[in-house]
């Protein structure tokens, strides 16, 4: 059957209707875990496996706060390999290129099903080529929180890497040799997994401040190292030098200004890429010139936002994960640098979520189509290269959702008649900014009205597509494989698109 964005969805799945449709449904919640016994302390992964009877077909979850520096998922994979457990269901909040141990486990059917919000690197390649026996389900950050609290994603054991844990099993990410700051994505796992293990390399007597409450923790595993601090830093602190990126960022800031969005009390979120950073820097300049104070910045927090908090340009930061060590430091010392959980960030059923309070967000796109649907999950051939993360959550929540991208990347047009894969529905995307002009979603008549007398070059998406093709030529049609390897779950749990194996012609 066709879903609300015109994609063919197998009848066994619940089709996406619209981004507002969740309002027609009740919030479902399983009860939060009520720990029966005292927390136990382990010193090896094997002990955890033995004492929690981790077995075939179970669901294990992880978070991605240590990003490319994570060793916990790697170590768990090694134990699975050694025990040769089969048909496991993995639910890491994201999958990074460093999670190489998963590859063989997928090929050997040790791991056969995966839930995640973002996927990149060798694991992505392995799944794109069809090696995952079961299905890959891609969630949004808020959607994962919803899936866990509703019981749709039932976790047997959550392995939560935690930079510091105390003897009462309370956990904090703010300190320790592998400090990574806030642990927002791990909160749903902590509260709802059947068994929770905090994995740490820094056990202390007692923590004054902690984010993870020991009352949910069944076990603490103390190991030599949970991560490699070098790999934890992601994002970038360098503003782009690419002239195209700078031009897009500049035009974005001019547009924000003309729409009156940079005003006292405003709130914003941007990505952590180099072009986003340039947008932040232009916005900062405008704020300083006009003496404007914003209410908050949110998201994965970077140094750029920390600097703005410290110079009083923002009252608060809401941080679901720290992108660099400056953010980690600030999170540890600044009481206005606040943690948010995946649920308070973007769960559609949670009250007063941060996503809904945002005035505007600036997001990226791998592809965007004539209906403003955005793909950040696959490339044009269908290879998995990312995923929503918070993309769909804040696109829905923010008053004005802006997507920025060059029109062309290495001759590949970013605009398509139809995107290869729909991650975020076009109904939630308001403005598309490119180096050659801006398109505004026709349904946002209010924005068009505000820009009526402005000198900004506004085009229709069709015009931008034509401009692109006049430069690149019209690309050939891509062959699609028949086999469905998974699907993308919108934040309310409905299916917005399916994922297909990459066609043999494109696998080297």
């Amino acid at each position: 059957m066709l879903n609300g964005v015109g994609r063919e969805i197998p009848n066994s799945l619940k089709p996406f209707v619209s981004s507002d449709d969740y309002k027609n449904n009740e919030r479902r919640k399983i009860s939060k875990k009520n720990k029966q016994s005292k927390t136990v302390f382990f010193s090896s992964y094997d002990e955890v496996f033995d004492s929690f009877h981790i077995d075939n077909k179970q669901t294990l979850s992880f978070h991605h706060h240590l990003r490319n520096g994570d060793l916990v998922i790697q170590e768990v994979c090694k134990v699975i390999k050694q025990k040769d457990l089969k048909e496991l269901h993995f639910a890491p909040s994201s999958i990074f290129p460093s999670y190489t141990e998963m590859v063989e486990l997928i090929k050997n059917k040790n791991i056969t099903n995966i839930h995640t919000n973002y996927i990149n690197g060798d694991v992505a390649k392995t799944i794109s080529e069809g090696y995952l026996e079961g299905q890959l389900i891609m969630n949004t950050h808020g959607g994962r929180a919803r899936a866990i609290e509703s019981g749709d994603l039932s976790i047997d054991v959550a392995f939560i890497a935690c930079p510091t844990v105390d003897k009462l099993a309370n956990g904090s990410g703010a300190i320790g040799k592998n400090a990574c700051g806030t642990l927002g994505y791990a909160i749903p796992d902590l509260e709802y997994a059947k068994k929770v293990v905090l994995v740490t390399d820094n056990l202390v007597e007692e923590l004054d401040h902690y984010q993870l409450d020991g009352k949910f923790v069944d076990a603490v595993l103390v190991v030599d190292s949970i991560g490699d601090a070098e790999g934890i830093v992601s994002g970038t602190t360098q503003i782009t030098k690419d002239p195209i990126g700078l031009k897009i960022a500049k035009d974005c800031s001019v547009l924000l200004d003309q729409l009156g969005l940079i005003k006292n009390g405003f709130s914003m979120q941007t990505g952590a890429g180099k072009t986003s950073l340039a947008v932040v820097s232009y916005v900062e300049k405008i704020m300083k010139e006009r003496i404007i104070t914003g209410e908050f910045g949110s998201g994965g927090i970077t140094k750029a936002y920390v600097d703005m908090l410290e110079s009083g340009l923002f009252n608060k930061l809401y941080d679901v994960q720290c992108f660099d060590l400056d953010a980690v430091k600030s999170f540890n010392k600044n009481s206005n640098h606040l943690a948010m959980s995946a649920s308070t960030y973007g769960n559609p059923f949670e009250e007063d979520i941060i996503a809904d309070k945002l005035d505007f967000v600036v997001l990226g796109a791998t592809e965007i189509d004539l209906n403003f649907n955005v793909n950040v999950t696959t490339d044009v051939l269908g290879n998995l290269i990312g995923g929503s993360g918070g993309h769909s959550d804040i696109a829905k929540g923010a008053d004005v959702t802006i997507v920025i991208s060059p029109l062309i990347k290495s001759r590949i047009p970013i605009i398509k008649e139809n995107v290869t894969t729909i991650t975020t529905p076009g109904e939630d995307v308001d403005i598309f900014i490119t180096e050659r002009g801006i398109a505004i979603n026709p349904k946002r008549k209010d924005l068009l009205e505000k820009l009526k007398n402005s000198k900004i070059n506004i085009f229709s998406m069709e015009e931008l597509l034509e401009k692109t093709h006049s430069m690149t030529g019209v690309p050939a049609k891509i062959k699609k494989d028949d086999r469905i390897i998974g699907h993308i779950e919108y934040r309310d749990g409905t299916v917005i698109d399916v994922l297909r194996r990459v066609h043999d012609d494109y696998i080297r």
Binding site: P243, I244, K247, E435, R436, M471
Partner: protein, 281 residues
Amino acid sequence: MFRSLLFIPGNNPSMLQNADIFMSDGIIFDLEDAVDINEKDNARNLVETYLLTTKDLPKTIVLRINPVNSLFIEDDLQLLMTRKIDYILLPKSNMISLYVLDNTLSFLERKNNFKKIKLICLIEEAKAVNEVEEIAKHTRVEGLLLGAEDLTNELEVERTTVGNEIMYARSKVIFACAANQIIAIDTPFTDISDEEGLEYDCSNAKALGMKAKTAIHPSQLDIINQVFSPTKKMIKWAQSVVKTYEKTGKGVFQYENKMIDKPVIEKAKKIIEKAKTFDLL
């Protein structure tokens, strides 16, 4: 009319394919210094096919050719056949090179039925500074561009942000241009990460009488355009003056306690024209 001209290396496809999007009033496609001696043919052919096949071209197109006494000059000038080039930028200009180029261009114009080809002369030799008034008088020459890097090399002095070392040359270029009603274009500011320095350099050049500046990176264009545009206040003043003049029909009147006469009215008209061209109204 322009405030800013951006240099783009002729052999760089990434920059070339985006030449139309930068906020410069014109683009200088460079076949000379920014191109390796072994890649001159590559650069020339790339710029040629780009000009012939691209729909959205920059507003003003300037081609910096190689020096007239180089092996490349004949092939470089073949790019005039694209009929897309607004100005030739002549490096190492002096009365001799200008004479040679003028002859060649006159021949090409007759042969191909071209309109008169316009020149911007790059003043980057001590000899050129001495001859600048004559160069500026030449009927083909529509602008002079000061090239401070080569000039300070020749003088064996250090190039500084304050620019005392090029004060004389700058002023000579400015006066020669003003006297011949052609455009004085300032030398590029070479430290692309120093925004403050760039702003100072632009303001300084403008205060002395430069009317435009070259950029070597797109990120410099914002500041250059800003400094070389008439200010909002000036535009408002000019509009009021011209309006009063048109309404009263008087050639001499008082405005804001100041005497307005013909030269002031002309100045006001010029400002409005500029503001129109640069889309500032």
